[in-house]
Amino acid sequence: MLQAHGLACVRGDRRLFSGVDLAVAPGQWLQVEGANGAGKTSLLRILAGLSPAADGRIEWEGRPVTDVRDDFHARLLYLGHAPAIKDDLSALENLQSAAAVGGRPLDEATALTALRRIGLKGREDLPSRVLSQGQKRRVALARLLCGQARLWVLDEPFVALDVGAVDMLCGILDEHIGRGGMLIFTSHQAVQLQGNGARLELTK
């Protein structure tokens, strides 16, 4: 369970948000909403432990996240704005090296299954340079199918995806929540997910 109390974020001179409270329990999802520049990405980066909050505290399983950092990161899967895809590597190599750097090496069969399920059948060995934006996003999203992370923090996962892919991703997210996973994501789209969910509107 991830809890945050009184989070605040300052960027340069501007206070983006303050006093943000949130809690996500197993089997729950949380959609972060807000206008452009409201600090959605900043909030997700703070929750993932990439940048420090100007104020407030974050707890993972009831303990301050700074105390259990390694354990927390072992159970976290964060997909940011940038898809972390290397143009010179193939989809398969990208997926495998990302998993290995993340401390969870992946055998080729699992990686191939994930890539096929995400709709990249036949493109596993092409250099990512020749893939379209949407296809690159799919390579990044294939990581969702490979790990055993409990908490997913996804920044605009639906961006650049076609209608079919949006439905498929919704299915994957539903599955994760159904298994008792936790999900925090941002999106400008009105997404219908099953299970127990909440929305958080970021305002000044």
Partner: protein, 221 residues
């Protein structure tokens, strides 16, 4: 440890797919070294005297050329974020990247230096010492350079700034590296210089990944 090997393999693979960048730095090394006889004149006694310094300064500049790329691409495409979130300590991953940088940017210089040393009429013994000093010194250049590369990540005018930050810190490596060859040529023995270079390398191995990690975390905030 697996993640260390994984990141080393990934960076080597990426370097292999972009061989031209690696070769550019090597050509730069060759050209700079070849310019000196043209600027100074072909008198062998003088060339032999300046050879260690020239080769070392050129190696220093060539190693610096590739530093910009060390973290910039990872920063841009989001890989660095994933590294910071890995359960493996970031300092270990950084060490893997630095090792990959040395293998692709430092080691080729070490191997090429004796060939260029022949242009300066160095004896085979001096060439051996030159290689040895570069073998000990170039990893140090990669380690120190990584700190500068991390500090200038995403900063305006990062490339020039990087050289301003890193070159003064390269001076001890230059002095002991070039000094080793000179001392040997003067019949004084290179042992002292080489062991000091080794000591600096040990110090760098210990401190540099830590400082680089701290700088990377700042760049990620």
């Amino acid at each position: 440890m697996n993640a260390f090997v994984a990141i080393l393999r990934r960076d080597l693979l990426l370097a292999m797919r972009r061989k031209s960048e690696m070769l550019t730095a090597l050509f730069f090394f060759m050209i700079v070294v070849s310019l000196f006889p043209l600027g100074i004149g072909p008198e062998t006694a003088l060339l032999r005297r300046i050879a260690p310094g020239v080769l070392w300064v050129a190696a220093l500049l060539a190693a610096m050329l590739s530093l910009n790329r060390l973290f910039a691409a990872d920063h841009q495409d989001g890989t660095l974020e994933q590294m910071a979130l890995s359960p493996t300590p970031l300092a270990l991953l950084v060490s893997g990247k630095v090792l990959a940088h040395w293998l692709t940017a430092g080691l080729p210089l070490v191997l090429l230096a004796p060939v260029l040393g022949l242009q300066f009429d160095l004896s085979s013994r001096a060439l051996g010492i030159l290689m040895l000093s570069l073998l000990l010194g170039t990893p140090l250049l990669s380690l120190i350079g990584a700190i500068g590369a991390a500090l200038t990540l995403g900063v305006r005018g990062g490339g020039v700034l990087l050289s301003l930050l890193v070159l003064p810190l390269y001076i001890p490596a230059l002095i002991f590296g070039a000094g080793a060859v000179e001392a040997d040529m003067a019949g004084l023995g290179a042992g002292g210089h080489l062991s000091l270079l080794g000591a600096l390398l040990a110090l760098g191995l210990f401190f540099a990944p830590w400082a680089t990690t701290a700088a990377l975390r700042i760049a990620l905030e």
